[in-house]
């Protein structure tokens, strides 16, 4: 088994585990974290699969994608946290 494939499999495993937590957790914050882990899993798969053809330099495109993905993930996480905190303060206020 080649290293990229192993990485990719680890990424998929991360994705699956995190998905399990997304499904199973009731706490908003944990869910947010789980989703973040999920995205990390996906990014890992992307990076791993960047070595599409045997050669010295991997394909740069997936890296660009990962960076963009991270930006998206961060902003989404921020929004999620805002919402979660508002939910909590709303619940506390009541």
């Amino acid at each position: 088994m080649s290293a990229p494939l192993l990485y990719a499999l680890v990424g998929v495993a991360l994705f699956c585990m995190a998905l399990h937590w997304v499904i199973a957790c009731a706490d908003p914050l944990r869910r947010i974290l789980a989703v973040n882990v999920m995205s990390s899993g996906v990014f890992l798969v992307l990076v791993a699969l960047a070595r599409r053809v045997p050669g010295p330099s991997p394909d740069p495109v997936p890296h660009a994608m990962v960076i963009t993905g991270i930006v998206v993930a961060v902003s989404a996480t921020a929004l999620a946290i805002v919402l979660a905190s508002r939910m909590r303060s709303g619940a506390a206020g009541r």
């Binding site: 997936p62 994608m65 902003s75």
Partner: protein, 484 residues
């Protein structure tokens, strides 16, 4: 006008202008509404110009001259042109309505930048030609939409928004995983290149399953529609209108592009499954709509049902007219649903609640809104000459053509069920009024916009023939649709 010159300009404008305006609105909240209006005035013209430019041949434009596979390519054919125009028109109407709706509300300063972002994201989706850009645009769309839902600000709205966000994140990640598999196999993200025959990805079935499932969640296909009803019902009415009319259509549009591109030769069974789920959605959504006590929830479940029709595309994808049908259906439903939500918003604003049983109180005071609701409802039922009628007609025709006429029965049953829930509402308008006073006043612009949208939905059928020709012309076959 020279299409080759103006087309790209307009395409770029369609994405950049709302973005710029959004940022401006964010920076100068006092003028946010004006930026919104500028956008509302500008976009329909730009979209119309683009549609005119791509009517003959599709437009493909590489940003900064970076070609595929690396660069970002904008692509527009008449299908995207039509959707862009519809988006612009509906957004313009919603803008007019929202100005009245949020007139005295504190949230209006956050509404305008978000709605402009939303518009940019939508345009981005309709103009993207590669699967990763689509991912980014979809994410931007989701973020804007979720934030807009949260503007409802009540606990229920925030909870709905949170759930919407998580669901759409999970879905996006599933999609992105699929994209990575695709890329690994094809080495490209470009829809056109992906569609080229002779290429094979790694685990194509896994990519298909991941992307389709992700988009199905985002598109609220039964039985994973769980996030939609509450998000759409709890959001402020103009937001609901946008969500139901446009936002849920975006993932579907992506799926459509994939289906006439890279996934053109998937086993028929996949299409059948999606079709069956579509049927289930039609029936389930309608039945749920029938039992709702609240008007906006009813309308939201109606969206669940109506989305089902769009998924009938997949089992019938090989029939000639089915893409026309779906395109028309998207348009018709968007117009009608926007009208319904805006009308429901007026009722809510006037009554302070939207319990269906007490609608008699508004019958005398909001005749135009109720009429808008009724007309839009009639469109949803597929009453001629509405766009829905023509769309359903084409859909059933496609079913007959494929020899799978069973689908047509569901189409018809869905129409009848929708009549059931529409008239549950309209019927309450024909009750003796209990009280005439009280409630907020509804401005003329707020009453007229839903009516206008409903009217557009109704008259859409009359221009169906040229529309269908437009959709047809650049899409002669299936696999080679997406131009270079």
């Amino acid at each position: 006008m020279n299409a080759t010159l103006t087309g790209p300009t307009l395409a770029v404008l369609l994405i950049v202008a709302p973005l710029v305006l959004a940022i401006a609105a964010f920076l100068a909240p006092r003028f946010a509404g004006r930026f919104g209006f500028v956008n509302a005035a500008l976009m329909p013209a730009a979209a119309a110009g683009l549609l005119a430019a791509v009517a003959e041949s599709p437009l493909s434009y590489a940003l900064g001259d970076w070609g595929a596979p690396l660069g970002i390519r904008l692509y527009a054919d008449s299908l995207s042109g039509i959707l862009l125009l519809a988006t612009a028109v509906i957004l313009a109407c919603v803008t007019v309505h929202a100005r009245g709706y949020f007139a005295r509300s504190a949230i209006r300063s956050s509404f305008w930048p978000l709605v402009l972002f939303l518009h940019a994201a939508l345009n981005g989706i309709f103009l993207s030609a590669d699967v990763f850009n689509l991912y980014v645009a979809l994410e931007l769309l989701s973020l804007a939409a979720v934030a807009l839902v949260a503007l409802g600000n009540e606990a229920a709205a925030v909870a709905a928004a949170f759930r919407y966000l998580l669901a759409s994140l999970v879905a996006s990640l599933s999609y992105l995983l699929g994209v990575s598999l695709l890329y690994h196999g094809y080495g490209t993200l470009d829809l056109a290149l992906l569609a080229e025959p002779g290429r094979h990805g790694a685990f194509p079935w896994a990519a298909l399953a991941l992307m389709t499932a992700g988009l199905a969640i985002k598109g609220a296909l039964f039985p994973v529609h769980f996030w939609l009803p509450r998000a759409h019902a709890e959001a402020p009415a103009p937001v609901s209108a946008l969500l139901s009319a446009l936002v849920v259509k975006a993932p579907l549009y992506v799926l459509l592009r994939l289906w006439i591109g890279p996934f053109a030769d998937v086993p028929q069974a996949v299409g059948e499954l999606l079709g069956l789920l579509g049927c289930a959605a039609i029936l389930w959504g309608s039945v749920q709509a029938l039992r709702q006590e609240r008007l906006k929830l009813l309308v939201a479940y109606s969206t669940v049902a109506q989305i089902g029709y769009l998924f009938l595309f997949f089992p019938l994808a090989r029939a000639t007219a089915v893409l026309d049908a779906v395109a028309l259906f998207v348009l018709a439903h968007a117009l009608a649903k926007a009208a319904m939500f805006l009308a429901a918003g007026n009722i809510l604003a006037c009554l302070g609640h939207d319990r269906i049983k007490e609608l008699d109180r508004v019958a005398g005071r909001l005749p135009v809104s109720l009429a808008a609701f009724g007309v839009a409802g009639a469109c949803l039922m597929g009453m001629p000459p509405s766009g829905n009628f023509v769309a359903k007609w084409l859909l059933v025709a496609a079913a007959f053509e494929s020899g799978e006429w069973g689908w047509s029965l569901v189409v018809i049953a869905g129409s009848l069920l929708s009549a059931g829930y529409v008239f549950r509402v309209v019927g309450h308008a024909f009750t003796p009024e209990q009280a005439r006073e009280g409630g907020a006043a509804i401005s003329a612009s707020m009453s007229v916009t839903p009516f206008l949208l409903a009217l557009l939905a109704l008259l859409l059928g009359l221009i169906a023939a040229p529309l269908v020709e437009l959709v047809d012309s650049p899409l002669p076959g299936a696999a080679t649709v997406v131009g270079r």
